[in-house]
Every structure is written in structure tokens, then in C-alpha cells.
């Protein structure tokens, strides 16, 4: 299971979905996330903090699916320290085109601060 979910709050007490990602993310895993943030689902349009571990990989199916999630989350701060994983997420962002509600960070604190600044 490459995604571990936790419902939490931001420092300013806003609802937050924390996701820890590791290993290989398949299309089924990506769809699992999609189901949580679908219209009418509990985490729809929430702020998301995604911590992606070094060595995490995305299958071809997952890579193509992720861009379709863009309108379903409020904002997503991706915390990534691995240059390879960052390159992978950058590639997916290029597929999405403009994604103003998605940004990469190197620390959780930076990501949370950005999420709190946003008006959603």
C-alpha cells in the first residue's frame, strides 16, 4: 500500500489530508485517492499535504490519471527531497498544464504554511 492517509488540520486549524507516499504507486492507488476527493466524498476540495519518500515510483497508468484529479482537491503541497521523485512529479505537472493549486516543497513546514495562506 504505497499511500497512507491521515485526516488532520493545518497549523491554522483547517482540514488537512496528509498522505505519505512510498514504493510504487499504481493506477489502483491513484484511483483510491481519486475516490477520497471525488465530488461528494469526505475529502473533496480539501488541502492535501503529500509527503513523498525517496524511491517512490509512479506507474504509467498512475501518471496519466493524476492530472485528472486537479479540480478535485483544494490545494496540494508535495514535500519531496529526492531529485528523482521531484523530476517525476514535475513530469506529471507538465501533463496537467497550469496547476496553481499544486506546489513542491522540501519541508513540511513550508508546505503547511503555503496551504494555510491559500483561500480555497
Amino acid at each position: 500500500m504505497p499511500f497512507f492517509y491521515e485526516e488532520a488540520t493545518t497549523p491554522q486549524n483547517r482540514p488537512l489530508l496528509r498522505i505519505l507516499a512510498r514504493d510504487e504507486v499504481t493506477l489502483a492507488d491513484a484511483e483510491g485517492l481519486g475516490a477520497r476527493i471525488e465530488v461528494g466524498a469526505p475529502n473533496h476540495r480539501w488541502r492535501i499535504l503529500s509527503i513523498v519518500e525517496k524511491g517512490t515510483e509512479y506507474s504509467a497508468g498512475a501518471r496519466k490519471y493524476f492530472p485528472s484529479l486537479q479540480p478535485k482537491y483544494g490545494a496540494i503541497a508535495v514535500v519531496v527531497t529526492s531529485p528523482i521523485v521531484r523530476a517525476a512529479i514535475n513530469m506529471m505537472m507538465r501533463l496537467t498544464g497550469q496547476a496553481p493549486n499544486l506546489r513542491l516543497f522540501t519541508t513540511e513546514a513550508e508546505g503547511l504554511a503555503w496551504l494555510d495562506e491559500l483561500e480555497i
Binding site: K54, A60, R63, S82, P83, I84, A87, A88, N90, M91
Partner: protein, 207 residues
């Protein structure tokens, strides 16, 4: 944007691109965490592209295999159908078999006809076999002796053989082979003539 890249990374990437250009999509650019630059994204992008090409190739191979299997199945069905249609032996009356032949008769087909017909004659204890050649345009030169041997074999099984619908060309072939005297062949103009002849003979036998 200006990026300084080690020559070895560029060479490696080019080797993999060249391999892909020849249809080998299995190689991947080795990614190193320490190579934290924009070129890393290019290398990863090439890996993603190779992955897509490999997936596309696997899908295409699978579809080709399915098509080949289907084509083989259809060819087999067609072959069975052609075989059934090429020797349409009909029991027109108890003990009377008719075989209307259509199309070209070559050695292979003659052998097939012989096998099927002799089996039916034996199985049904046929007394008469009518072979209608109305639809036969040509009989291959070497095939006519095979057909005439079949007629003799039918005779050996105790059945009489009648040929109908013989075209002038086929008649000349039979005469040229000198088979008329030796083989128990009776020729009639039409299939209906042969049937009337056989039924009359059967009625006479009963009477």
C-alpha cells in the same frame, strides 16, 4: 537556462535512444539522486517514453497474436467448409448416391473425392453412384486417370457408376485415355436421366 552535463550522461542517453530507434525499448537511463539538475527530468522523461513504447509494443503484439489465432481458426473453418462443399455426396434414393461436382478437379481434390465417395458407398451399401460433371470446367491432365480409377473402385464395391453432364472436352479426355472399353462407366446427358435410369432399373429388379 544553462546546464552543464557530463559527457558520459549524454552518451548513455544517446545509446539508449539509438537502441529504442531499433525497436529495443527495454533499456532505461540509470537515474542518480546526486544528478540534481534539469537534465534529470529529460532522462526520466526518456524512461517514461520508453515505458510507453514498451507498453504499446506489448499491446500490439498481443493484438497481433489474437488476430493470427483468429485467422488460423477461420482458415481451418474455411478449409472444413470447402472440403464439405467439394464432395457433396447426396443419397438421392435408398442405395443411390449422387455427387454433383463443381469447379476444377485436381489430383488433391480427386483423391479427397475418392476417399469420401468410397467410404459412403461402403457405409450405405450403395448400388448406384451418379457423378455429375456438369459444373466441372476442367479436369487436370493427370487427374482423369485418378477419377477413372475411382469409378473402377466403385465397381469393385459392387456399385454401378454413371457419369452425367460430360462436356466435350472431358469426353475427349476420357476417350484419349482409352478408358471407355475397360471401365464400367455409363454416360448419360443429365443427372435427371441417370436418376430415371437407376430408378427404372431398381423397379425392374423388384418386379
Amino acid at each position: 537556462m544553462s546546464v552543464t552535463i557530463e559527457g558520459e550522461r549524454v552518451d548513455q542517453l544517446l545509446r539508449i535512444i539509438v537502441a529504442a530507434a531499433t525497436g529495443d525499448y527495454e533499456l532505461r537511463v540509470p537515474l542518480v539522486e546526486e544528478d540534481d539538475d534539469e537534465f534529470l527530468e529529460v532522462e526520466l522523461g526518456v524512461n517514461y517514453l520508453l515505458e510507453e513504447l514498451a507498453l504499446g509494443k506489448a499491446k500490439s503484439d498481443s493484438q497481433r497474436q489474437q488476430l493470427e489465432a483468429r485467422a488460423e481458426e477461420l482458415a481451418h473453418q474455411q478449409s472444413e467448409l470447402v472440403q464439405a462443399l467439394s464432395t457433396p455426396v447426396i443419397a438421392v434414393w435408398p442405395g443411390v448416391l449422387a455427387l454433383p461436382l463443381v469447379g476444377r478437379v485436381d489430383d488433391e481434390r480427386a483423391a479427397q473425392i475418392t476417399a469420401v465417395l468410397l467410404e459412403r458407398v461402403a457405409a450405405e451399401r450403395a448400388t448406384h453412384v451418379i457423378i455429375d460433371l456438369t459444373g466441372v470446367g476442367t479436369i487436370a491432365g493427370t487427374t482423369m486417370p485418378a477419377l477413372l480409377r475411382m469409378v473402377r473402385a466403385i465397381g469393385l464395391l459392387g456399385a454401378g457408376c454413371l457419369l452425367t453432364g460430360i462436356s466435350p472436352a472431358v469426353a475427349q479426355q476420357i476417350v484419349a485415355l482409352g478408358a471407355e472399353g475397360g471401365a464400367p462407366v455409363r454416360a448419360l446427358a443429365q443427372l435427371s436421366d441417370a436418376l430415371a435410369h437407376v430408378l427404372a432399373q431398381k423397379g425392374a429388379l423388384r418386379g
